[in-house]
Symmetry: C2
Subunit: 250 residues, 2 copies
DNA sequence: CACAAACAAGAGCACTGCTCTTGCTTTGGA
DNA sequence: TCCAAAGCAAGAGCAGTGCTCTTGTTTGTG
């Protein structure tokens, strides 16, 4: 029954002036998430406390359980929001450079991801660090989590001309898997490209991880320049030519 | 106390004939870390409880504070151990293939890292996931953390012949930083190679992260083959030629 | 209007990290 | 050899946590 009402609330939230009660519920829910995000940014996910959130909001801790059935559910909600926020940031960056070359688009999206992560390290840790509640994220998060990946695939798809991309013939053991992945993700791209794309996707977040989590601390100083260069190499690696920078050789 | 006393009684391992007291201390310290590692593997870092460790060891929680001044200190100790364990695994894998081609050495080390991580996901999360105690790891962990990176650098150094490696001229903005990094890490390698090496290092852990933390869940199925291929590409990217697999072009 | 659902509040449980005090045991130097 | 100092285990206790259950109150709707 709760689910039904919740669904009604979410479906009609924007247009119809629902009962004051439903409106209050979404407002309180948002307030809880905002305060939780504040504590998250201040102290990290480990020290996020339901009681502290409730205290800060002037309510009693047990009242909060009417909005989120457990601390982990609150965290899951924050995770989805974080994925969406990152996806929006990436898409906004893409929109700004949609006229430029594919390689520039790629690098712009990568840099947007990096900047989002550096601005909200704790939210980033929530989604690309170790899974907090112990188990992996529930399937609710999947669509939100896929946004950045799909955006990168889209860039390559739009730029793809079927020449000069697949530097590597796939080893035999990987060929069926590559066909499967390509079918699922981008049927219009050759499997070689999809494989390299998935790798680049993971490697991009490897770079961001190391920077956000401090692994570059006494190693790389000018991390902006380093990341720009690495993202450009990734672009090249997935088959996008990067004009007028560096000077590619061959 | 049973467990502790038994352990004290059984093995007197080290060479130094310390006083019985000092020996007991190191034994108890090891027992605590072992039990903590067990709980870590079972439940994850978030649910590692000093009281539970003490309980399992038959001692009282306050007694444990004589060995580790806080929970975070225990975690730090586990972090250092994990770095060392990973480093040892990587070096062991390297030793086994030290006669083969550099690219094979590279891939072998990468696969050792991956296998270590998949076997101990929670310990891996401790060192390459989000930093748990809130702040980043203290500088005590630095030498242990560097082992895998230094091993990879060593492979490239040993294999380096100064031709055919630097595909990319560095952009001007990165050149001073690249010189600095090369000076610190591998003065005998050209800056272009060092830059690409650091990037490959981070990207390797990006691949492992995505697999261990479940980001590949509905995306990549045959992750072993995928990782092998991606590691081979990284080897190629840092300038190591990968013989008789895939079929390199050029 | 009346009723059932939604809600706030409080008490309470079992747990956590951590501190302080109380005694006992081991150790190293006089 | 003896004795103070240091190391140690144990217990009580504090403040905090996630979560549950019960008790009343508010509110939208049949």
């Amino acid at each position: 029954m709760c689910a039904v009402l919740c669904l009604c609330g979410t479906l009609l939230r924007m247009s119809t002036p629902q009962g004051a009660r439903a409106r209050a519920r979404t407002e309180v829910t948002a307030a809880i998430k905002d305060e939780a995000r504040r504590q998250l940014a201040a102290e990290g996910a480990a020290k996020l406390s339901l009681r502290a959130v409730a205290r800060e909001l002037g309510m009693v801790s047990s009242a909060l359980y009417r909005y989120f059935p457990s601390r982990d559910e609150l965290l899951t909600a924050l995770i989805i929001d974080a994925y969406d926020s990152l996806g929006e940031a990436a898409e906004a960056a893409y929109a700004k450079v949609s006229g430029e070359s594919p390689a520039r688009q790629w690098v712009a999206v990568c840099e947007a991801v990096r900047e989002w992560a550096l601005a909200r390290p704790h939210e980033y840790a929530l989604i690309y660090g170790s899974p907090v509640p112990g188990y992996s994220a529930p399937s609710t998060t999947v669509p939100a989590a896929a946004r950045v990946g799909l955006l990168l695939i889209g860039i390559v798809r739009d730029a793809y001309q079927d020449k000069g991309v697949a530097q590597w013939k796939l080893p035999a053991e990987l060929r069926p898997e590559a066909r499967r992945m390509a079918e699922d993700l981008a049927p219009d791209l050759p499997p070689e490209v999809v494989v390299v794309l998935i790798g680049a996707w993971a490697q991009l977040f490897g770079l961001v991880n190391f920077e956000v989590f401090g692994q570059f601390n006494r190693v790389v100083e000018d991390r902006g320049a380093f990341f720009r260069h690495a993202a450009g190499q990734l672009a090249h690696h997935v088959g996008l030519v990067y004009p007028r920078s560096g000077a590619k050789e061959r």
